[in-house]
């Protein structure tokens, strides 16, 4: 049997609320500490206790960390999902299960290992009976560690980190890990090919989730006010502010330079955020789709009245309550025009946790510079799952507070100042904020029609002129939002356009396309709306462009087609969302099926491959749906862009 080293996926099936996250995080952190590129994804139900939940760890020596459809190692701890878990192991894979689950072993093509979890935990007199289930999870950590080669010392340091150095829980959990490892060593014979070997590919890297990164980025951006309402998957972003603000903005006098308010609903959360932004505070809120729906009216007000705020949308699957615990890029179209009437919003699209931090602080600069709401679209996969990253980089530009006037500033230009007067020709006026003592500084902000001096007006020409200025201002934003990231392959004539958390899947797909199929593809990751000149250039210079969207409608595809009508026929929609994050094989196959001018043998091979691939029954449904939508797209029928 050929050894498979540092290139496989491990899925653990447990019950929600059984405390398995400590165990799973411990595995993840230990592998990370061994220097092997790794990612962890939690597939959890919208439930507190009892329903099945899965945690998937992908280990990949080449650094690809996107989701895969295949899992080589499966650990089954939950009787309710046992049959499904067993069916999900790839042929030739390994299946570990708690031996108190008395269910038929129906597969002969996997290496099955029964683990005496309960028995081992009961043997330890130091584990109180109500802790047995929790600690029991550590037994599978130990068994797995022994069987695939996770360094126990790394597990010890992961537990030390997790329990913040508290010796008692560290010992209790470590004892269970050792018991599992020792038992496996004495009783199990290795029948599968999967091994871990230390590398040095995570040195200097950090591991964190996007919501924590966003909270930290916001703090380094000088956040002063945040209002929020609990909603999955955005809650941990606001909680991150609560966790880190007291340490990072500590002052000698013990007083606070910020306030975080839990509002009564999302309407109030964004209302407070707008009040604070209007008054000159760096102000933010965080939410997900349903919350964003509620915030729509206020979003339009902030656009029209030119109030700087930052809104994080950690996307989950909609419409409606949808799938609250699954990931999506379904809010892009909605956010782009959030508000009734002629509203256009500025959107930032971080692609990883590193950018969640970076855009965390940049969003405030852009909002204050543009005097506009700035929406930052993350998603559940990025926001709540653990990702490796370069360390966060300290802001490399000073804070940009934009065109704000205090007393002495206003005194200088008071004869040529109006709140909405565009004296610079960039569409951005100068603003004053409450507390300014200059007698001419005050104005009444109104959501109703207003003239350049903020006075009520129903004048037709004034209305149109002001809306034109807002358009000019929106165009000016192109100079301030992040430019796309472009990855070139020499000789490539086609390109993939993506955004957000699909980057890891797309990068892996490009690698496979070139290596396995000889198809050279460039890649542009769009990082903001409105689109900058670089986006236009990339579209102009490629023959065919695959726009990857984690939603049904191809929302980025539509936005690009509308803003680039002359190139619309070059843009090919690659769009799908079932709540699971994008995979390289989906991107790869979608590209192969639709690429023009490719040798037909490659096309046939690709088609064969997609049919043959039915390794994971759980994912087979979604996979089939991809194929169907892909097949439909093969006929050049224009549906998306009109």
């Amino acid at each position: 049997m050929n050894k498979v080293v540092n290139d496989f996926s491990i899925t653990v099936g447990t019950k929600n609320g059984s405390g398995s996250s400590t165990a799973n995080n411990t595995i993840l952190r230990s592998i990370f500490k061994m220097g092997i590129p790794v990612s962890g994804k939690n597939l959890f139900p919208s439930n507190i206790q009892g329903l099945p939940t899965w945690y998937t760890i992908r280990v990949n020596k080449d650094g690809f960390v996107a989701r895969r459809e295949v899992q080589e190692i499966v650990i089954a701890m939950n009787p309710d999902s046992f049959a499904r878990d067993l069916a999900s192991v790839a042929p030739g894979g390994a299946f570990f299960y708690a031996d108190d689950i008395k269910q038929p072993m129906t597969r002969t093509d996997v290496a099955a290992y029964a683990m005496p979890v309960k028995e081992l935990v009961r043997k330890d007199p130091n584990v109180p009976s109500d802790f047995r289930d929790l600690v029991g999870n550590m037994v599978y950590v130990g068994v797995l560690a022994q069987m695939i080669g996770i360094d126990l010392e790394k597990i010890q340091s992961a537990l030390h980190f997790h329990f913040k150095g508290k010796q008692k829980p560290i010992d209790m959990n470590m004892n269970a890990v050792r018991a599992g490892a020792e038992w496996a060593q004495a009783n199990l014979e290795k029948k599968d090919p999967f091994y871990l070997e230390p590398m040095n590919k995570t040195e200097g890297m950090i591991m964190t989730d996007g919501n924590t990164a966003a909270a930290l980025g916001s703090i380094y951006g000088g956040v002063q006010f945040a209002a929020w309402y609990p909603i999955t998957p955005a809650t941990s972003l606001a909680e991150g502010l609560n966790d880190y603000l007291p340490q990072l903005r500590k002052r000698e006098d013990g007083k606070h330079t910020y306030a975080v308010v839990q509002a009564e609903d999302e309407l109030a959360a964004i209302g407070m955020t707008i009040g604070a932004g209007w008054s000159g505070l760096r102000s933010m809120t965080s939410t997900s789709g349903p919350g964003l729906s509620l915030m729509t009216e206020f979003a339009g007000l902030a656009y029209y009245t030119e109030v700087p705020i930052v809104v994080w949308d950690v996307q989950r699957v909609g419409p409606s309550t949808g799938l609250p615990t699954r990931t999506s890029q379904g809010d892009l179209s909605f956010t782009a025009y959030l508000g009734h009437g002629d509203t256009e919003q500025i959107i930032l699209l971080p692609g990883d946790v590193y950018e969640c931090f970076e855009f965390g602080w940049k969003a405030f600069d852009i909002a204050e510079r543009m005097q506009s709401p700035v929406f930052v679209l993350s998603d559940l996969d990025m926001g709540m799952n653990q990702w490796m990253s370069k360390p966060f980089k300290y802001p490399d530009t000073p804070m940009d507070r934009g065109k704000i006037l205090w007393e002495e500033d206003l005194e200088k230009i008071k004869n040529n100042w109006g709140r909405y007067l565009d004296t610079d020709g960039d569409g951005i006026p100068y603003r004053t904020v409450p507390g300014n003592k200059h007698p001419l500084s005050a104005y009444l902000l109104r959501g109703t029609g207003h003239d350049e001096h903020a006075r009520y007006s129903e004048d037709a020409a004034l209305w149109a002129k002001n809306m034109d200025r807002l358009k000019t201002k929106y165009d000016t934003a192109e100079n301030f939002v992040p430019k796309p990231i472009i990855m070139k392959t020499p000789g490539a004539k086609i390109g993939i356009i993506g955004y957000g958390s699909t980057e890891s899947a797309i990068e892996e797909a490009r690698y496979q396309l070139e290596k396995e199929h000889g198809v050279k593809v460039d890649f542009m990751r769009v990082r903001a709306v409105p689109f900058t000149a670089e986006v236009d250039e990339f579209i102009r210079t490629h023959d065919q462009l695959f726009v990857v969207d984690m939603n049904r409608g191809g929302q980025m595809h539509k936005l690009l087609a509308v803003s680039h009508p002359e190139s619309a026929t070059k843009l090919i929609k690659v769009a799908f969302n079932d709540g699971l994050s994008a995979t390289a094989s989906w991107v790869r196959e979608s590209v192969l099926m639709k690429t023009n001018g490719r040798p037909s043998s490659a096309k046939k091979a690709a088609a064969k491959k997609t049919i043959a691939k039915k390794a994971a029954p759980k994912k087979a449904v979604s996979k089939k749906a991809v194929k169907e939508s892909a097949a439909k797209k093969a006929t050049p029928k224009k549906k998306g862009a009109k």
């Binding site: 950090i206 930290l216 006010f225 903005r249 606070h256 330079t257 109030a268 209302g271 009040g275 604070a276």
Partner: protein, 352 residues
């Protein structure tokens, strides 16, 4: 009050201790209907702030949508203001007043803006004790959309296009007390002196001060038998007390000597005092139970009780709870707001 010295050739302008003339407190000309109660309230806001020597720059105006919410245009031109969304004034005010905890909010709302679409935000801003005078210009009708019932319309009210109102009204003062308001008063726009004294007391109160002012709609709801009409208000007003606001450090001079047992003094946080000459001699405005009782009795008897219904002067206002720095938050700079680079190294060390 100090007199301004007359200057040769110019008519002496009367100024207050802030050095400002009454005109400095005025706004744009009103576009509301002639005789609208709201205009009278705007005038009393101008007078109260002028007489209290408050600088307009220290006040921020807020409103939602409706006739009432238009009125911040008609007073305090020199104050910042935010005329936002229907029923959402409280949240905007909550965020805005964090920028500078010394600013006083004046929120103007109506019965639709507060008791219908804005009920949730109203109750929560009260619960949070935001440092703001929350005025409900209550006319029991939707004016701007031309005469529909509101949530404070009395049961049985007949309106031209609406038929007869089948529902019991919401009592804004009762709702405020139920949500732990720290200052609740009711007045009648046709009684400008009381409106002004209550406004002064409300402005001196640190925390939320809910002022439910019955303000008749002269166009859509002023039949003499309607609860929110001038005639009905004048006939049914039952003042709890005569109220006099005494500014801090001012000499207390009462117009007439009050009898023992009838006079109640309430000290406010800034050293000012409200003197209440009780008409209902058992009434104690610091007792929530009494406050709810008097409102219940009024409802039963068809009385319009006016005056200071409830006050709790010592509860911390919202921003006080947050232990903010003395410098207004919106004057802080990068040095105060961006943690140093060394801290990020530590943070990176924790990310695992």
């Amino acid at each position: 009050m100090t007199e301004a010295l007359p200057m040769a050739g110019i008519a002496p302008a009367q100024v207050n201790l802030a050095g400002l003339a009454k005109n400095d407190y005025r706004g744009a000309p009103s576009t509301l209907c002639q005789g609208c109660g709201h205009n009278s309230i705007s005038n009393q806001i101008v007078s109260a702030l002028y007489e209290m020597d408050t600088r307009p720059e220290d006040v921020v105006k807020f409103s939602g949508i409706g006739c009432s919410s238009k009125s911040p245009t008609y007073f305090l031109n020199r104050s910042f203001g935010f005329n936002g969304l229907h029923g959402r004034m409280p949240s905007v005010a909550t965020g805005a007043l964090f920028a500078n905890a010394k600013l006083k909010g004046i929120g103007i709302s109506g019965d639709g803006d507060t008791a219908s679409i804005g009920m949730g935000q109203f109750k929560h801003v009260v619960r949070r004790n935001l440092n703001m005078v929350y005025i409900v210009e209550n006319n029991g009708v939707y004016g701007l959309t031309k005469g529909q019932f509101s949530a404070t319309s009395e049961k049985g009210l007949a309106l031209k296009k609406q038929g007869t109102n089948p529902y019991m009204p919401v009592d804004i003062c009762m709702e405020a007390i139920a949500s732990n308001a720290t200052f609740v008063a009711r007045s009648f726009a046709g009684d400008p002196k009381q409106v002004k004294e209550l406004l002064k007391a409300a402005l001196a109160h640190r925390g939320i001060a809910v002022l439910d002012i019955i303000s008749p709609c002269v166009t859509f709801n002023n039949q003499s038998n309607a609860f929110h009409s001038y005639t009905w208000g004048k006939d049914h007003e039952e003042p709890l007390h005569d109220i006099t606001y005494i500014a801090p450090r001012s000499e207390i001079m009462l117009e007439e000597e009050m009898k023992e047992g009838e006079v109640r003094e309430v000290a406010l946080h800034d050293g000012s005092t409200i003197i209440l000459k009780n008409l209902d001699k058992d009434y104690n405005p610091t007792n929530r139970w009494d406050a709810l009782r008097i409102l219940e009795e009024a409802q039963k008897n068809d009385w319009l009780v006016t005056g200071l219904i409830y006050i709790e002067p010592d509860k911390p206002a919202l921003t006080d709870i947050y232990n903010l720095v003395d410098t207004p938050l919106n004057r802080l700079t990068e040095a105060d707001l961006r943690p140093d680079p060394a801290s990020l190294d530590k943070i990176n060390g924790l990310m695992f």
